[in-house]
Amino acid sequence: MAKNKKIYFDYAATTPLDGSVLRKMLPYLKENYGNPSSVHKFGRDAAEAIDIARGETAKFLGCKETEIIFTGSATESDNLAIKGLIKALRKQKRAGEKIHIITSQIEHKAVLETCKELEKEGVRVTYLPVGADGIINLEDLEAEILPETDLVSIMYANNETGAIQPIKEIGRLIKKINENKEHRVYFHSDAVQAANWLDCRVDELGVDLMTLSAHKIYGPKGVGLLYVRQSTPLHPLITGGGQEWKLRAGTENVAGIVGLGEAIRQIKNQKSKFKFIASLRDKLVADVLIMIPGSKLNGPTNSNQKLPNIANFSFRGVEGEAMVLALDQEGIAVSTGSACTSQELTPSHVLIAMGRSELEAHASLRISLGKYSTKAEINYFLKVFPAIIERLRKISGR
């Protein structure tokens, strides 16, 4: 094993906690331990900290502070958005009236599994296909929107390939359709992967519901948020003390929320960071494709259609987990869409939806960069990786 080498190329899985975010959080794990619901000074201090975080978030999203619900994770936010909306709409509907959700085949499991749960309860769900580039087609979406359609849930950018979905265009389309429609189509987007890089102002995007996570933006784990446009029907999934506008009960994770607020405040200069990370990614992609015969890039080829930090490849004659482990022995942390690292035996649903074969999906490797990534790290990867592929191909005989 390479001594002391530690290269983290898995920022899409989670990001390290930024030191300055941690410093803001620490007082709320120590001396400022008040319950924000309490009337006394301890409580007021905690409540004020949450207000500040909510203010930062509202600024970032270009929304009202009352439109933000802090949750325990992005998964919870996705659940609240989808189940909470459908639950509320059910109350408004006549008996027997249809419920219809449109989502895509490449969503995060937090959305897909939630939709599958609702299907068991009689909700009809349409899973939109994607092209070979991993992007949905607007016309496909338009064709699926029917009078009974209640919700469209499409992620902002995909976590495996970085493919950016046409969220602004979808927002405009839904707005237009809603002008002539008896009941509204609501629009939810999981923006977890996009937040570091893309415009997240909700009015620009035209979303009614949007999910963010703290731990993908150098904040702590265990805290997410859901943006809920004013007058969007929503039923809580967790009931109790009435926190978060009665939409998410439970004593607030004060330090976590403070961390989320600070992490959001630090998302600045998106464009220049985008450019630098994209240049690292472009070098990585170009060199890998040249150095390693039998390699393929998964995802959009056009730079404008993908996040700057994710590169997803498939390599002939190797299996993903074996690559991940071999790279780990060289001190490099990456991930794969192979089934061999998941609880299921089927490989990446995202790559399969893009028309990749099962073998190609098993042979996939995702490298995701972040704000601490350097050119030297890319070079080190490029130095050790070809030999790993060569060795694994010798073992596979392919």
Binding site: V318, E319, L325, L345, H362, G397
Partner: protein, 123 residues
């Protein structure tokens, strides 16, 4: 997730490769699960012992380690003895595979049985 022994057999397998003129070949796996495995065997006609065995495996670390282990367990055994090697034997010799990876041990025993069942002593 993996113990040192699995990692060792994954990182430095001793039995990988082809045998040019094998007496029997055994195969297992499918593209769906992502594991494809071929075993090549040389048999001593007189003693019915496996005198050489090699594997080619497209698969995860556990599949590669289990392939190496079944070769190690099978070499110098008679076919009669070798067919009795169970997936538990493979798993235990590797210091027990994680539950999700037990199918890798099953896969390699399948391949060995496939090979032995293909054996025609007169050929």
């Amino acid at each position: 997730m993996y113990n040192k022994k699995v990692i060792e057999h994954f990182a430095h397998p001793k039995f990988f490769g082809k045998i040019k003129d094998p007496d029997i070949i055994g195969r297992a796996g499918n593209p769906r699960c992502g594991d494809l495995l071929t075993l090549y065997l040389k048999i001593d006609k007189k003693t019915q012992k496996i005198k050489d065995i090699k594997f080619e495996t497209l698969g995860c670390a556990a599949a590669i380690a289990a392939s190496d282990m079944i070769c190690q367990l099978a070499i110098n055994k008679t076919l009669e003895e070798a067919i009795k090697i169970s997936f538990q034997d493979v798993s235990e010799e590797l210091g027990v595979l994680p539950p999700l990876k037990i199918h890798c041990a099953q896969l390699v025993t399948e391949a060995l049985r496939d090979a032995i069942n293909n054996y025609q002593p007169d050929s």
